[in-house]
Symmetry: C2
Subunit: 325 residues, 2 copies
Amino acid sequence: MKTIVFDLLNVDNGELEAIKAAKEFLKENKDYYLYLVGNQELIKKELKGFENQIEIINSDKIAHKVLSVRDALKEESSMLTAFEILNEKADAILSSGDSGSFITLSTLKVKRLPGISRPAFMPIMPSSQENNFLLLDAGANIDIKANYLVEWASVAKEYFEILFNKKRPKVAILNIGTEDYKGKEEHKEANEILKANNQDFDYLGFVEPKNPLNGEVDILLADGYAGNIFLKTMESSFLGVAKRLKKMLLRNFKTKIAALILKKDLKAFKKRYDYRYVGGAYIIGLNKVVVKAHGSSDALAFYSALNQIKIALDHDLINKLNKEE
Amino acid sequence: MKTIVFDLLNVDNGELEAIKAAKEFLKENKDYYLYLVGNQELIKKELKGFENQIEIINSDKIAHKVLSVRDALKEESSMLTAFEILNEKADAILSSGDSGSFITLSTLKVKRLPGISRPAFMPIMPSSQENNFLLLDAGANIDIKANYLVEWASVAKEYFEILFNKKRPKVAILNIGTEDYKGKEEHKEANEILKANNQDFDYLGFVEPKNPLNGEVDILLADGYAGNIFLKTMESSFLGVAKRLKKMLLRNFKTKIAALILKKDLKAFKKRYDYRYVGGAYIIGLNKVVVKAHGSSDALAFYSALNQIKIALDHDLINKLNKEE
């Protein structure tokens, strides 16, 4: 049995969305066992018939935004409980709670992989083409050292290969220009190391935001500061465009006809840029599979995130990474 | 007579686009005099009748990407010539050449305003709403100090007020979260100073990329590294969406009908996110009006950029900023 601890609280759309996803996942995966942290009554009622695949840990304490590391470790919450269970007996964790708390708890409560200095926040990003790319770090480490990027590249490579079933990913460092002399010192240093090393991935050097967005990169390395700005700018740009498009399409009778004709295409278009279809973000560099779902996730998003965990567990990824060092 | 030196070389679409813009601008502004650096024959031919409003400085030396500050100052180019003329006798400069060289020459060749530690690169950005906002720094300073942001805020405020004819702009610092404890030390420090000061603008504190994109911010302060990533991610996201939309609309007979219905709206939509309609980027903090146009500018883009210079000169902006200190 593979085991996942699932923090059901901290869901913008309500706990039920998370429970629905768990139900669907359990139905399809009889070899999985879930530790469910949340409202005992509700879980019991909704998951009747799945008793041999679940253990319920009652909690009604949502993890709030924390102002310090100390708070994250001190304040009782379903998320903290979930991390304690992870440490004790589970293979993986899923939560949609506050990112700051989640990253802090991941860093402090979960053992690191050998040879990895820091964990990184790694979401799956949609390009404007058909492919997706991995971005790391997207916010766990404001300041970095050159070796962090080098270490992350080799871990991300393993994730990429099993997620997308494709060998030799194209790896690059996000920068303000493609020239070797541009950017911050730590990036230049990492660039030199990655260029000199013989790796089992293709290193492209420095890239600008347009390159991953055009689908030219599989793994985009960044410090957590730039990675976070990149991620959020991309997300907000798409949301802004979608809003403007919608307004345009509802402007008058004629545009509404056009909207009707394009309905199916527009849905596919929106889906392409909808984070819910690419799932949660991994925290990598840890000895367990750790996934953070978006706070506004619905049942579908949680279901995707559970499957993201499954793909890592089914491929025995953590053992593989442990052996690599 | 107000004077602008215009570097006509370094244009992706050819020198003629720049010359066309100059012609249109001269026609409408009899109180302006242009120093035109470029191909003498071509300029003479195209600007027949404007002899009393122009001086031609013959040059065929394009400013290439430079690898160092020394190269930028040493290598002969139309851009370097233009900066020399600026220093000697012009009020403003416009060029679409290599950004790196342009920023380097701006920094080294033009006197700074009193009280300003560093110049900043300041483009005008479209939000998803109807307003535009100023972003600075978008790439001139990879590393910054807290006081840079504070100084830039007060200069950008003056530009904003004359550009958009609106008092008390909303100023914010770009960050990875809105909480005061998040982000880099220099940003936290600037945040505290701006919160404590009594300014003639409204300070909003830290914002995330979505806030300016949603039209909530007038002046977005950033270090040149994050500002550049933000700018390029936004631009590439919109271009990516536009490309995908176009593909969708040309997919089959039915979608082409929809495209036909939406033709006018789509044009307006595209125009909204097209840098050419918001013009060039200012380099602020200097004792002259300095504007960098996009490398792929066409006549319309150059014309907008010339008008961006005009608005600053007509409002006597530099004198005002000089007195302020």
